[in-house]
Symmetry: C2
Subunit: 130 residues, 2 copies
Amino acid sequence: MQSHDLKQIIKNADHAINQENFDDLMNFYSEDAILVVKPGMLAKGKAEIRRAFEAIANYFNHSLIVNQEKMEIIETGDTALVIAKAILSANQKKDSEFSMERTATYVFKKEVDGTWRCVIDNSYGAELLQ
Amino acid sequence: MQSHDLKQIIKNADHAINQENFDDLMNFYSEDAILVVKPGMLAKGKAEIRRAFEAIANYFNHSLIVNQEKMEIIETGDTALVIAKAILSANQKKDSEFSMERTATYVFKKEVDGTWRCVIDNSYGAELLQ
């Protein structure tokens, strides 16, 4: 099952975020990927997405840890929808502890080289409607 | 903006559901589309999706009305993620009134003919994780 591939890919992407290895992280995104930085603010393309992750890392004083606790993957052809319970934690958000749970929505696309890449990264899920 | 196209397309699809015009409705889906019939039960491809809609229409004694109250669309290249507040109501569900709200997640793909078609129809959204 390709779903297992996607779970591993997302796990590897979380690892890259947690290590602040943004060179590796950018390999998980398509060239025209969109990241929802926060509701109403989108980063589009690898350069903007990288800058957003750098800003987020700074905001959390380089202590952010992201992990997906649960995941459901619906896949057909070269498209996959991932619904995930994402856990974010940081021990140094401006000197206070921080932990939150988000219901995230990701869309992946299998590119012509056979690699799944994230095209839409919406860690806010349905919070966008609020 | 193509987002407006998608809003109209989804409105037209809801109209087809409400009219039980399943010939028209199937035009909104890609050949390999997946419909989440309920958590754990998927319909794949137009033939299965059509049978699922016919069963749903029967279940509600042909009184189901679907409408999207709010919608957020994130679109890049030939892929779009739609997060919607869907309202379902029926006045004859086995002789009782019925109304519910769902936070739905749809993925659309622009096909080579330039038409957006639904590839993943998950009206349960993050309920899949429960």
